[in-house]
Symmetry: C2
Subunit: 195 residues, 2 copies
């Protein structure tokens, strides 16, 4: 579909490969944000999951917020972003999950208020990147603690050479990734639908 | 206008006053987000500033992202969110500013990449709350370091009993606040357009 073409084009022309396994896309997704592209991304996820009876879109601050918000707008359901850091009004009862960082080799906690997810919810998880899948795993953990149902995961850019893709599929949860990177080659991005 | 009525209604019915000077609105703005309300808020700010020749919308992670994104979508310009914490691909040259926390009595740094703001930019600053104005002041500082022009500030909820409102007006920058709180009374919110 069109948004995938546009996204791949932007990654090729504006993305920068750092080291062996990081793609920097701070010009349209992670620092500066292209609102129209986000709107197209939201439409794409909403179309893919339109029949899933979704009641809530979940993501993690901060880069997941833009694509998740646009998805929730199209699905006409609330969006909840998990907190990673202490927040001014973060009090009350929370579901928490640990998210492991392979690079930092540390555990971080993410939290969602119990007020905003319950057993009747059918959850769509949205995030900007899928790498090792720890962040998505944390959101799935919280979804399960709440007794809610995870009906799908939507990812803007997945790196297929890392474990996240298979991790999610192994849980039998539908995964929609708009841009799927097979590998990096000489500082260039090679997508799964290419050479 | 309609969005102000809707916003005030939601504050009255879902907002919780904490202590003497904090309003918790985590059900539609700060944790769970109402995407349609955000869209209406974005439209309102875009309408108010439609003639200002805005080239960029600036905000700070995380709660500012939703209203700023919707505003930038309507204005058809990029949105940039300042970083408060270290980020995976945060490298390169940045403008930074200090943001003082009265409650914590600490200085925090916010940063925006020099790639995404320059002297030709006409900037609209958007944020969720206006209290003491330190966050907005930090964004104004960065705007000025870049040689750009701050053409306006859009705030979803301002607390008029704190210094931020007057601080911004003293800089002769147009300020649009959708909900303006005069004070809290017995755990209730009293708006400036009421009793
Ligand atoms: N730009 C970019 N980011 C990547 C890439 N791979 C992973 N990330 C991001 O890195 C962060 C995870 O880093 P760590 O917690 O250190 O975990 P890791 O070493 O196991 O990957 C996440 O950012 P986050 O928590 O979502 O941060 P934020 O941007 O939301 O603040 C994730 O989205 C990549 O190729 N490019
Ligand atoms: N809910 C709520 N928040 C308020 C209120 N007044 C100020 N804040 C938020 O508190 C944070 C500022 O807290 P501090 O840095 O400790 O500064 P302060 O004590 O001088 O206010 C900001 O959140 P932030 O940095 O924008 O955090 P985030 O939500 O974006 O993560 C600001 O938006 C209020 O009445 N209600």
């Amino acid at each position: 579909r069109l948004v995938i073409k546009i996204l791949e084009e932007k990654i090729k022309s504006e993305g920068v490969v750092l080291g062996s396994d990081i793609l920097k896309v701070d010009s349209f997704l992670n620092h500066q944000v292209d609102p129209f592209l986000m709107s197209q991304i939201g439409q794409a996820f909403a179309d893919k999951f339109s029949q899933a009876g979704i009641t809530k879109v979940l993501t993690i601050e901060a880069s997941g917020i833009a694509p998740a918000l646009m998805t929730s707008l199209q699905l006409q359901v609330p969006m909840v972003f998990a907190r990673k850091h202490k927040s001014r009004t973060l009090s009350g009862n929370f579901y928490t999950a640990s998210v492991y960082s392979f690079t930092k080799q540390t555990e971080n906690k993410i939290a969602i208020s119990k007020k905003f997810i319950n057993a009747d919810d059918r959850v769509l998880i949205i995030d900007d990147f899928l790498a090792n899948g720890q962040a998505v795993q944390g959101l799935l953990d919280i979804t399960s603690q709440a007794g809610a149902t995870a009906v799908g995961v939507g990812i803007v850019i997945e790196k297929r050479f890392q474990a996240g893709h298979d991790l999610i599929l192994s849980k039998n949860i539908p995964l929609v990734s708009l841009a799927s990177i097979d590998h990096f080659q000489d500082g260039q991005v090679v997508f799964n639908n290419e050479g």
